[in-house]
Each structure stands twice: as structure tokens, then as C-alpha cells.
Subunit: 186 residues, 2 copies
DNA sequence: CCTGAAGACTTCAACTCTAAAGTTCGAAGT
DNA sequence: ACTTCGAACTTTAGAGTTGAAGTCTTCAGG
């Protein structure tokens, strides 16, 4: 048996510390404190997304579907949006949204109808089943988030929230939505 | 001229506050403090990724290519890794990495050769041009990051970095890499 | 009215990723 | 040496995305 010639075996992901050390080695004028914040933030976010993905998967929901459900719920009653609106909110092209809605309509998560008062528009509406799925996913997510922050004191949570919000404001002010479609949904 | 019948026009992305309010309206047992942290974190991260994407694009680099370059640089001299290693590090399938390397080799960012001591392995090596591209991108990124954190005091930066690192550790301990390929690279 | 322009959505072709099968090579056991 | 097994990579088929072109509808002006 050829021993796992550490091709894919030895490519352990570098720890956060190792990675930061590597950056400093390769690029001297780098503030380690800044890099610590940025790298931890990005890595944390990725791990969280993986966790969300696993959870929604247990409900038979893809991340793509989860995002559409979220957008509809956040929009509030009557939980209706057009494909174009959804595309913009999720940061997809309208074409992609057309197909995504196809699939979700087939699964009964949403309905698609033409708006009779303005026949150019199409209305995508959350079904009861779609809303239930969202609720289930939300329950899982909130447990996970609560657990994640468990070790933080109330004060730390507050501070963390405030600082992150300040940073967010700074980015948003700096990039005034330049191209129209930024975002995935939270 | 049909006036922008607010189909895609009126779908302004909800502000962070609006979104959190919407979640609470639709799902009562939600800790607003937790949600503030999580939502700000996710949104901030997305905006940052958009910013990185714009920057690397000005260098004629896709985000995909940027990630491969990062992995190679972080691996240290001689800046060589196998396709399998890269795939694992970036959280892609080996198949996807094969194609990505094809493209990057065509553009001269990396070279691909068979390892003559073990002809099963393939060695992907950073070219001089690839390293230069990485450096340019890194310069842009570090300026952006420095600017982002500009309003934070040294103390705040330190605290933020520590808290995020604690959270990261918590996630990583909880999901011991379950399926083998988690991650994009930071 | 009829025409032209612009909006909202869909269709189409090209691209990238995943999952699974296929190919090639190296290391043991016999 | 021969065979077999496993590892590393590539190839192939299918899902999902983008960008561009196309369709349908509405509205404004001649």
C-alpha cells in the first residue's frame, strides 16, 4: 500500500496563527493586529456558514432556498416579492432567480403568479409550507447562534455587536452599493 | 416611459436594524443582542468580500485565482502544492481544481508539472508573475483593511481580535472538520 | 390609434462547480 | 517479476450561475 504520500493528506489547513505568521513572513508591512481581526472574522464567518448549511440540509433545504425564504419572510406580510427584487436582494442575476424559483415552486415552497393589475410583473409568494420550513430552520439557527456566543458575557456581546456595527457602517459608507447588486442575505 | 414600477426599484435592501426588527416580528424567541452580533458579522463579511473582489478585479484577477495564489504563498517557499492539497485547502473538489489550474497555467500565474520522483503527483508552482500579482493584491487589501479599522482604538482592535478568535475556536471545536473540506481561504 | 421606448421576466449559450467513474502510477505481498 | 490495491489526478455528466439576447407588456407622444 502506497503510504498516504502526504499529497492531500499533509495539507492540513494552517491554523489561524500559522496563517498570520505566513502572511507576515511573505509581506512585511502588515499590521498583525489588523490581520488578526480580519482573518479571524473571515474564518469565523466561513465556519458559521458551513454550520448553517449542515443544519438547513437536515431539513432538506439548500442554502439557496434558505436565502430566498429569508428574503420573503423579512419582507413581511403578505410575503410577496418579484423575481427581480429577489435577485437584487440575494445578489444574483434575474436569470438565476428564474430558475431558482422554478425549483422552489416545484417543491411547493413558493408560488409564482402574474400580477393581474400589471401583467409585466410576476409575484413570488411564500406558501404555508415555505413558511414552516423557514421557521424550522430559524429554530435551528437560533440555537446554534446562542450556543456560539455562550461564553461571552452580556457586556462582551454588547460591545462586540457595537463594534461590528460600526465597522459595517464604515464599509457601507465607503461603497455606496456601487453596482446595484451587492449582497447575499444574512 | 413606464415609471420604475418599483419592482426591482423598490427592493431596497433592508438596513441592519430593519432586518433585525423583521426577524423579531416573525420569530419571537430571538435574542436581539445575539442577532445583532450575528447579522452584523455576516453582513460585514459580505461587504468586505465584495470589496476584495473589486480590488482583485482591477488587477485582472478573479476571486478564485486570488485564493489559489494565497494558498501557495502561505504554504511558503518553494511555493508548491499538489492539486489535491489545493482543493482541500480551498474547499473544492479535486475536479474543480484541475480546471482552475488549467486556466491559471494558461495565464502564466502558475506552472503544472509532474513530480519526477513520484509520477502520480502533480506539482503546481507559483510563477514569478503569480507572486507579483499576489503582492499587488496584498498591497491593496492591506490598505483597505487598515482603513476599515481606522476608527478603532488599539485597545478595541485587540479586544475584537481576541473575542473573534475565541468564537472561532468554539466553532472549530464543535465541528471537527466533519467532512474533510470546509474552507475557503482567508 | 399606432409607434417607439423602456421595464420585467425568460431563454439561450458558455462557464464553473460537484459527484462519480476512469486512468495512471507506486508499493506490497506472493 | 506479477498481481493487486490504493493514491493522485483527470474526465465526464449534470446542476446552477452569468451575460446577452429575446419576449411581452406598459406608457408616452405624434
Amino acid at each position: 500500500m502506497p503510504e498516504p504520500s502526504d499529497a492531500a493528506a499533509g495539507a492540513a489547513e494552517p491554523s489561524l496563527e500559522e496563517q498570520i505568521a505566513a502572511y507576515q513572513r511573505e509581506f512585511q508591512d502588515l499590521d498583525p493586529q489588523v490581520e488578526q481581526v480580519v482573518s479571524a472574522l473571515q474564518r469565523l464567518n466561513r465556519r458559521m456558514n458551513v454550520a448553517y448549511g449542515r443544519q438547513t440540509a437536515t431539513l432538506g433545504l439548500s442554502n439557496a432556498e434558505w436565502e430566498v425564504l429569508k428574503a420573503l419572510v423579512v419582507s413581511g406580510a403578505p410575503y410577496e416579492l418579484g423575481p427581480g427584487e429577489l435577485a437584487k436582494l440575494l445578489g444574483l442575476t434575474p436569470a438565476a432567480m428564474t430558475h431558482r424559483i422554478d425549483r422552489m415552486a416545484n417543491e411547493g415552497l413558493v408560488t409564482r403568479e402574474r400580477d393581474e393589475t400589471n401583467r409585466v410583473r410576476v409575484i413570488v409568494a411564500l406558501t404555508h409550507e415555505g413558511r414552516e420550513k423557514w421557521l424550522e430552520a430559524m429554530r435551528l439557527a437560533s440555537v446554534f447562534e446562542e450556543d456560539l456566543l455562550q461564553d461571552l458575557s452580556g457586556e462582551e456581546r454588547q460591545l462586540l455587536g457595537q463594534v461590528l456595527t460600526r465597522l459595517l457602517r464604515r464599509v457601507e459608507d465607503a461603497q455606496p452599493d456601487a453596482d446595484g447588486r451587492l449582497s447575499d442575505l444574512d
